[in-house]
């Protein structure tokens, strides 16, 4: 599939919301592989699918640098959606995001609202220049709490420090840095949390093994990218290792 970029907004320093004229069906938490000809290909969370495909893109490597140089009218080829997304729960839920990890939340919050769930949104950022206004990307929430490491917006500290009591939630959905996810698993019932995991991917369709999580042999691209917390606690790589392009494990800093 390919479509023209319809809208580009800077939502924080080095983070853009991009809407592409591609109409697809996707579950919240699934991802697409975006091809940037001449540069490469990378996975991105499907952020929203209403009125086109919305992606939240952070400047990280050569693929995203090239995407940042594109503007309205440029063509973006994608394949997907791939993977297994979040399980939708009707009830009282929390969405926990770190930085641009909030990417899948717009679509997720809409689907949860379709079920009349009560949504508490908890977002953490490094500082005000990294802060992303959830309304600007289309996240629906009944309550919203924000924390920044430098205290420039909302509470001072990590997002995981403001959620002392998460026991009342029927489900906690999380996406963000792996350190945040690891910390989250310390404070919530692991069987009531679903976390979107990121790894290097090549095929995206479950045949190459590049994104494997051991010792369970789970493929992030097709068994995930969303996994339940109790499954992740059995992954020795989780929070510790990331596999490079040659498959060697590298420590997550």
């Amino acid at each position: 599939m390919k479509g023209r970029i319809r809208k580009v907004d800077e939502v924080a320093e080095g983070v853009r919301r991009i809407v592409v004229d591609i109409h697809l069906k996707a579950d919240p938490g699934q991802f697409v592989m975006v091809w940037v000809p001449g540069v490469g290909e990378a996975p991105f969370s499907v952020s929203d699918i209403e009125n086109g495909l919305q992606l939240v893109v952070a400047l990280r490597g050569s693929v995203t640098r090239k995407i940042f140089s594109m503007s309205e009218g440029d063509v973006l080829p994608v394949r997907g959606p791939y993977g297994k997304g979040f399980t939708l729960v009707k009830g009282t839920v929390a969405l926990v995001g770190g930085g641009y990890g909030l990417a899948p939340f717009p679509l997720l919050s809409k689907r949860l609202k379709d079920l009349d769930s009560h949504i508490t949104l908890l977002l953490g950022f490094k500082g005000s220049k990294n802060y992303i206004d959830p309304q600007k990307v289309g996240i629906l929430a009944d309550d919203f709490i924000v924390a920044t490491e430098d205290g420039s917006v909302g509470f001072k500290g990590l997002v995981t420090e403001i959620l002392e009591d998460l026991s009342g939630y029927d489900m906690v959905y999380a996406c963000g840095p792996e350190r945040m996810a690891v910390e989250l698993l310390r404070i919530v019932n692991p069987s009531k949390v679903e976390i979107s995991v990121e790894r290097l991917m090549r095929c995206g369709i479950g045949v190459c093994g590049s994104c494997v999580l051991d010792p369970l042999g789970l493929r992030v691209c097709s068994d995930g990218p969303v996994f339940r917390g109790d499954v992740l606690l059995r992954i020795e790589d989780f929070g510790r290792f990331w596999r490079g392009w040659d498959g060697r494990k590298e420590e997550i800093r």
């Binding site: 390919k2 592989m33 091809w35 000809p37 001449g38 490469g40 290909e41 990378a42 063509v75 080829p77 394949r79 090549r202 095929c203 995206g204 369709i205 479950g206 045949v207 190459c208 093994g209 590049s210 494997v212 999580l213 051991d214 010792p215 369970l216 042999g217 789970l218 493929r219 097709s222 490079g244 392009w245 040659d246 498959g247 060697r248």
Partner: protein, 296 residues
């Protein structure tokens, strides 16, 4: 009833996970075992770690996949660690696939794989996606096989490229050099162009075609190899999506059947194929031996 003897290696069923597909970590070896495979082939390994080709590495077509992974792997040492830690917990054999640059390397890697617990060695001189190894070493195949044969006692399989012209003389020469069997076939050199963007899709430009499109080619290779070498072990590989495709390869002469591209539909495909084969044999009152190479 699905047990197979592959050059002395016992398989509980004929379904072998093809090289390049998932065989990269302890967890995946064990998982493929649990999901019902008869054997698991490692991704091809090189002496040193290798990062593979730039992305995109894969294009999905309605009749298969074109990939240009470029043999990404963590190198022989780490691959052996994965195998060593998996083997004590495995109920099926691991076939170690190597992509050497020289006879010396082939010998070294083969013996390290066997020491780590690999039950057979597959020599990949047929990968179309690399410059320095793979298909560009096809003319060295005999030399590589000979050096491995002197070094290890396990069966040696040669992964055959569908670009070979004279199949009988190719396999006969390798058999004389010490190859116990053949995995036929590797992917067919291919290319996909995006006509809207006026450029090739794959980062490696040229890749290898797998999936249903190559199946009849694989069947013909299996048939020719079986006619040439009645005693050779053959893993038929290329586009097997269901039990009928697997049965077809066995009828052409395969002992075992590789599966790879089909796993894009999920690992459940493995059990679907073995269940289907079993039902077919029961319904028809046949055994695998009855149908192997049955076509005249």
């Amino acid at each position: 009833m699905l047990e197979v003897d592959l050059a002395g290696v016992k398989l509980r069923n004929p379904i072998v996970i093809a090289s390049g597909i998932l065989g990269i970590s302890r967890g995946l070896f064990l998982r493929l075992d649990r999901e019902g495979a008869g054997a698991v082939t490692t991704k091809s390994v090189t002496l040193r770690p290798r990062s593979g080709n730039p992305l995109p590495n894969i294009v999905e077509l309605e009749f298969g996949l074109v990939n240009s992974m470029g043999i990404p792997n963590p190198g022989i040492e780490l691959m052996c660690e994965e195998i060593r830690s998996a083997v004590p917990h495995m109920s099926v054999p691991i076939i170690g696939s190597i992509a050497p640059t020289s006879a010396e390397e082939a010998k070294t890697m083969a013996s390290l794989l066997v020491e780590s617990g690999a039950s057979a060695v597959e020599v990949n001189t047929s990968c179309p996606n690399v410059q320095d190894i793979g298909i560009n070493l096809i003319n060295k195949s005999v030399e590589l096989v000979r050096s491995i044969d002197r070094e290890v006692d396990v069966p040696i399989l040669v992964k055959v490229t569908p670009h070979v012209q004279d199949v009988p003389s190719f396999v006969r020469t390798l058999s004389e050099a010490g190859a116990d069997g053949f995995t036929a076939v590797n992917t067919l050199k291919a290319m996909v162009i995006d006509v809207d963007l006026l450029r090739p899709v794959l980062g490696g430009v040229v890749g290898g075609l797998s999936g249903p499109a190559v199946r009849p080619v694989a069947v013909r290779f299996i048939y020719e190899i079986r006619k040439t070498l009645p005693g050779a072990a053959i893993i038929g590989t290329g586009g097997v999506e269901n039990w009928r495709d697997a049965a077809e390869m066995i009828m052409a002469g395969a002992d075992a059947v590789g599966i790879g591209t089909a796993l894009r539909r999920g690992l459940k495909v493995i059990n679907e194929v073995t269940d289907g084969l079993r039902s077919f044999l029961i319904e028809r009152g046949l055994t695998l031996d009855d149908i192997r190479g049955v076509v005249p």
